[in-house]
Amino acid sequence: MTMQTLVDGLVLGGLFSLSAVGFSLLFGVLGVVNLSHGAFVLIGGYAAYTLHEKLGLDPLLALPVIMLGMFCLGYAFQRSVIQWATKRASLLASMLLTYGFALMIRNALVLIYSPDFKSVTPAYAFDSLSFGEVTVGLTRVAALLVSIVLLAALAATLRYSSIGRTIRATAQQEQAAALCGVNIRHVFALTSGLSAAFAGAAGVAIGLVMPFSPPDETLWTVNAFVVVTLGGIGSPAGALVGGLILGVVNTMTAQLIGAAFPNAMMFLLLVLMLVVRPAGLLGNSFKGSR
């Protein structure tokens, strides 16, 4: 039973990781806390729903398309709105700006898709995999795999590609990078695009596993907060660690303390972690932990 709980937690954690990595990246590189992150996640979910309903496209096949679309959205969001806000106001004020966008997106989703829950259920949604005593839903395993593959791909991109190197350099030494001829605005927008693309991917994975409705955006934003605070800022590894811990804490609390308490435990952990080690277990991969 404990094994089952552990596995359930890890699978759930994979989703948390993927849903937080974009938030983490934006926070780490730009310092922007994007309160509309959860709304971006949901846009991904609804996109998967629409493609599945209208075109019969399997969510896993739709994933690249959705990520591409979300990338463009994120790029434009940074170049048009966030950039303006961070320049004219403060980073804290940009939090309010993104909150405003979260409200707008949520309202728009209600108008377009109605407030009813939606779910994406391909034929394999009800199948499961068993390993001895442990049974896990197939879609959950698929979501976990998607998370790991995408997080690894992101880590590799950041580490080895020239874009990734530029992003890391810019995050560490914004002015130096600018002096070296890096187009900071472009790099920031690329980061924002990546962030949104991963939010979208998380939305697809979430849509595959559970029903969702517009008010859920708050949930995914808050989860991203907790994951980043636990794991560390700005790195796929931090998001993975934070997400997996959160997932396991979630299922273990439900099992051992009571099904109603995972959220309380999660936020307690968040506050404790902030107090003990504000930059998370793996620290801020860009700016040096405080």
């Binding site: 039973m1 089952q4 709980t5 359930d8 759930l12 989703l15 949520r106 309202n107 209600v110 109605s114 407030p115 009813d116 829950f117 779910s119 259920t121 949604a125 009800f126 199948d127 499961s128 068993s130 049974t135 896990v136 839903g137 197939l138 879609t139 959950r140 559970m210 029903p211 969702f212 409705s213 517009p214 008010p215 859920d216 949930l219 979630n250 299922t251 439900a254 099992q255 009571g258 099904a259 109603a260 995972p262 959220n263």
Partner: protein, 412 residues
């Protein structure tokens, strides 16, 4: 659907001022009965809020367009339902209800969610105006001594009486029953009322699990079911959570002979999402369009449903019907009182006993729905449709117990 403040005021003026001043001058102009209220159209409760909203509006449309209004004391009136979005914010709801009161609205419709309904009910009660509502069933509302607040549902703790009766007659008798309740006022009262009644009836209620109000993972519940193997799981959860629980039970291949999800399987979208796996699921059934109810205005439950479908795109739900029934109840009471005096209409509401599209409308002295006539029946998904299986008097199909296992459904 947007309301323009000026037209609101104008028609308020028509409704309120005219009866007092000379009637003759504007006799040919159609007068209106303004019914005000709020619904949550944004926030978590928006889904049901929209159903309630559409029920109100469908009835309004029907009365005005099909019946050319209603005749009371020899005069014809159009019904004018004025709603606003309270965004599930009790302070906002109170403020806007006050605006309706100030504008002279005499009759009120309720919002959804007891923490919204109660503060607004207090204001309306104090003003001595009646409120018909279909969204606040928590017991707290009915222990305040309010005289003007009427609900289409029995208070939450009484809603599952039929369900418990059904568990009592199950063959073979269940050896263990597990409850899972979402942690919100309604779901909790619903479950606790049922648990108390069930224990009184000697049912083996062995496990009670409290879930968060919104869940992203039901694996701990699934694991408990796996290890405790209850014969019955009764979950008082909202539909999104119900679907998650069902999906995780299916994909974990954990069977329960009687899986009862209070909210969820009523909805077509829920059954579609589960496909064949929804077969045999139980739920709390308040209303079915095939119910044999006669309605003095719509004709029958079925005719109401047909009318609704002609004019509204959104799927019909029991809250749509109960919302429409609120207006129907008002019209019956107004006709019986032969007056638009809110105090007289209130008195007639209190003694109302009439069959409607939604069922036989009759309230307890505290104002909630009569648990026998307005209580829920036991529903089950059979061959893809939502049937009523208990009590036998209203049965549309015979229950299947134990329900087929997931593995059997998987094979098709």
């Amino acid at each position: 659907m947007k309301l323009d403040r000026r037209t609101v005021l104008k028609s308020m003026g028509a409704a309120v001022a005219l009866p007092a001043i000379g009637r003759g001058a504007q006799a040919q102009a159609t007068e209106t009965i303004v019914i005000g209220g709020s619904v949550p159209l944004s926030g978590r409760a928006a889904e049901t809020g929209l159903n309630v909203n559409n029920g109100y509006l469908a009835a309004q449309k029907f009365f005005n367009e099909q019946l050319n209004g209603v005749e009371i004391d020899g005069k014809r009136y159009k019904i004018d339902v004025r709603l606003f979005d309270d965004a599930s914010d009790p302070a906002r709801a109170s403020t806007l209800i006050q605006r309706h009161l100030d504008d002279g609205v005499q009759f009120f419709l309720g919002s959804f969610g007891s923490n919204i309904v109660l503060p607004t009910a207090a204001i309306v009660e104090r003003a001595g105006k009646p409120m018909m509502q279909t969204g606040g069933a928590s017991d707290q509302i009915y222990t305040q001594g309010y005289k003007n607040i009427f609900c289409m549902f029995p208070r939450a703790s009484r809603q599952l009486y039929n369900t418990i009766e059904y568990f009592k007659v199950l063959q073979p008798a269940p050896k263990s029953i597990m409850f899972a309740m979402a942690n919100d006022a309604f779901s909790k009262t619903l479950a606790e009322g049922a648990i108390a009644f069930g224990k009184e009836k000697g049912l083996p209620i062995n496990d009670i699990v409290t879930l968060p109000e919104n869940i992203t993972d039901a694996s701990s519940l699934v694991n408990q079911i796996r290890s405790k193997k209850p014969d019955v799981l009764l979950a008082t959860t909202h539909d999104q959570n119900s679907l998650l629980i069902a999906r995780q039970l299916i994909s974990s291949n954990v069977d329960v002979p009687l899986l009862y999800l209070s909210l969820g399987p009523q909805l077509k979208s829920f059954r579609d999402a589960l496909g064949g796996y929804s077969e045999g699921l139980y739920f709390q059934q308040f209303w079915d369009e095939r119910s044999p109810y006669k309605d003095a205005f719509f004709g029958s439950a079925q005719k109401f449903a047909d009318y609704y479908r002609q004019h509204f795109k959104r799927d019909i739900a029991y809250h749509t019907a109960s919302g429409a029934a609120c207006i129907v109840a008002y019209v019956h009471a107004m006709k019986a009182a032969n007056s638009l005096d809110p105090a007289k209409v209130r008195d007639k509401l209190a003694t109302l006993d009439v069959e409607s599209l939604y069922g036989r409308i009759k309230f307890t002295p505290e104002g909630d729905g009569d648990p026998v006539h307005l209580g829920s029946t036991v529903g089950q998904v059979l061959k893809g449709t939502a049937e009523v299986v208990f009590p036998e008097a209203s049965r549309t199909a015979a229950p299947v117990f134990p329900a087929p296992k997931w593995a059997e459904k998987r094979r098709g």
